[in-house]
Amino acid sequence: MSRTAQLKSTAAVLEPRTLNEALEMRARAPDAMPLAGGTDVMVSLEAGVIDPPRFLNLWRLDALRKIEDTPAGGVRIGALCTYTSLGRSDLVLRHASVLIEAARTVGATQIQNRGTLGGNIVNASPAGDTLPVLLALDAVFELSSAERGARLVAAADFFLGYRQTALLPDELLIAIHLPARNADDHTHYRKVGTRLAQAISKVVLGARLRVVDGQVVEARIAWGSVGPVPMRSPSVEAALLGVPIDVDAEAKVAQDIRPIDDIRSTADYRQRVAENVLRSFLRSVVQTRS
């Protein structure tokens, strides 16, 4: 690791004043790296792992800071919303309190004041804490380019491989759409790190179960830090669907995840913990219903 890159970063910055300007610059200068709160970018720059010739500053685009109702009854969150602003939004609280729970665990205050939801998504770290929650909530990402305008991509289709996403080189992430919340949804967020703040996750669980008349009618189980991408858990979801809650569904976790040994933990631990936190969540759903 060397500080050289950062200290002499002579990179230029492009300063769009409007979203349209930003999209045009993005199209014309695909080598300009978008910069939101910078909490991932600056660390990579400091570590010398990136050295782009210029940056495209998004921080001033207040249009991307809105949080608003959608006609479909859900909520649309601008990509530039910080974790702190999510936590202060009644709309988000109403539609996706579990996302606020996740936001509260990202880094700590200083990171939450600066880091953005859009940055977490595009950075696409397998350990990105909001990502399993977004998968569990069936979030849809609004991507836009100057040439083709906006398009919608489901979270489940966005994360393609290790730090690879469906975002095209001329696109920016504009907003995150969350569908309306069902009254019978049980949502859950569990982050496992080595300390209670400023922790990079070893396992993250984002979950949503819709239970009607004792039967699971919709199951979303999503994981972070247990594979190269944040991922849904199809075998577990299938095992849960259409039956009363089966607290032994955790036995299927191993089929879905691909944990590794790294500096932060072991594959073994991650798998065991994933099973355990899922089992406890399922139990708690059973308990709250009885």
């Binding site: 690791m1 060397s2 982050k191 209670l196 500096i263 932060r264 933990s265 936190v277 406890s280 708690s284």
Partner: protein, 742 residues
Amino acid sequence: MIGEGLVRADGQAKVTGRAVYVDDVRPEGCLYAATVRSPFAHARITGIRLDPDFDFSDVTVVTAADIPGENVVALMTDDQPALADKVVRHVMEPVALVAAPTREKALAAVSHILVDYEPLPALFDPERSRGHEPSLFGSDNVYSHITLVHGDPDGAFASAEGNADVRIIEGTYRVGLQEQLYIEPQGMIATHRVDAEGAPGLTLFGSMQCPFYVVKALSRVLGHKRFNVVQAVTGGGFGGKEEYPSLVAIHAALLALKSGKSVKLIYRRDEDLRATTKRHPCRLRYRTVVEVRTGRLLAFDGHMLFDGGAYNTLSPVVNSRGVIHAVGPYRCENVRSEALMVATNTPPNGAFRGFGAPQVQFAAERHLDRIARELGLDPLDVRRVNLYRDGDLTPTGQTLKDIGAKIVLEAALERAQRPLPPGNGSGRPGGGGQAARLAAGRGLALAWHGCGFTGNGEANLQGKADLALEGRDLRVYTSSTDIGQGTETIFPQIVAAALGIGVGRVSVAPPDTDLVPDSGPTVASRTAMVVGGVVLKAAQALRAALASEVGFDGDFDAMLDARTSDAVLRVREQYADDGTLVWDPKTYRGDAYPTFGWSCVIVDLEVDLDTGEVLYRRLVQATDVGRALNPVLASGQLEGGALQALGYATSEEVVLDERGCMRNDRLTNYIIPTALDAPEMETVLIEIPFAGGPFGAKGIGEIPHDVPHAAVAQAIERATGAVLDRLPMMPERVMAALERRR
């Protein structure tokens, strides 16, 4: 005044951002330095060349060849070079230095110094060090080997065979590498000066605990003493700035001499983590003979193997403290305690708060828990039956008096009866709320800690302090540094109390080796107790001198009023023991320390059964401080030390790669506790005065780090049944232990 929680003298500067740390200073025209380090654990250096394609015109380069005096970092032995010459013995070892007008240029230059290495076989396993190849130190790779025998351990073990009333209980315990993790990295500035006699020289200004260590080391490298050393406000040390700054100072000085300019050398965090000393890892094998009915210790046989790393540093001192403290605060009449400190090709381990005591007392406490488990006894009862009582002999044969062991135990138990404070622990965000499965438990551990240097250390050192009457105010001159623990506040309290004047009239001179005498290093919990004692003597001497000047001894201000001269009156005192301490460093028999501190720690925690995470709720400690000169500063020391020990317990571990280089060299993966991880702490100060300390004070800097980690292990065991005998008890290891239990 003594016993008052006076606001720290340097407080205003620290809360307003005005306090000047080394990195806050930028001398005119100074160069920025960087260090060329070895990528190999063990290799021969066959050449050092400058990349011809790089512009070195404004870069100063220093190698071992530029050293005017001896190429050594003088400390206990002279084995460590200031710059590796023919051989490197650990990864990150300094090989060359560069300085350039900008930091960027200096860092760039580092990668254009081309060093040719011929790798040699490296040694990483301390179990395979002694007497093995490669040869790293002395004839057998042993830095220190101490065996202490008390009573007749062999006889006790022999007669245990076939005796149904006693049992032999054995256990093995391990502790890992811990990093001091001062928040301010190492740093030093060398500037040129002309001294009082008009001779050119240097000033070294930086972050450090021991200015005279730097003087000693630097004078050997330069071959002269035409320099002074000044401590900057120092952002934490914990032992990590005891011996290491000597190396940083040598490097800055060499670059300043060669370039003719001022040089600033500040370590980057990752560099600091990888290159600097750590707490010695240790493997401990304990065998004991115990009484089956009570768990009473009848004989103890302990073997400790410490990994010293590639150079000796202060490792023998760690070994020594380890041997003496190995049994914990418990009586045992037949003891063999043997400690071996060996060399490996990892970066040298060195001073760290506790000096061996945190390692061995973890084992001692875990071993008592094992005894309780195997005999079906209550761990608390086993402690009560073994705890030292007045008149008991320690393993070195020292007779203990005024023992605080039982008092701290009862005080901690009493305090811990109060209801748990609300708040942290399971209230964590992202913790799964209702779904989490938590098991609560409480653990208790006891510690003793010898105050000050071992044996004749203080008598040999003769630490000095000056006190000067300057006008109507007083100024204390010592080389004791304030690294956060509050020396600048406590010394004035001592002087003011002794002279009966307001504390505002006493100031402390900055630790500048031109101005202050050598008071000995700021280590071993000795500053308040030992140097503070010398300061007190100085105050008494000053009063006597003043009395003889004015012809009467009375009210201090009245004496001042009677003075006819306004000349500065300066007195010097030095440490002298009363001759009652007898210590034989060859046999390790006698009075190991002038006195001991005592502490009992109780930890309440929860274990998350799904994840093995440990959540701290409360930590109660009752500690015998002799006399709390300043209770706010004293409890602050104890709380900080205890949290460092909780980090040692469950999250902190330096992980080395196959070259012996720290892999987790960032604050994101060497994990120290945050405010959310820390428990609510309750600190009970017990005062059993020590006649040899100022107003009865004892050293307290280290004891808080001695056993909280052991209390955690016991609490985890009581909460879950999981037995952990290895530090750190990372969630991964707790999970594995939870599974073993089934």
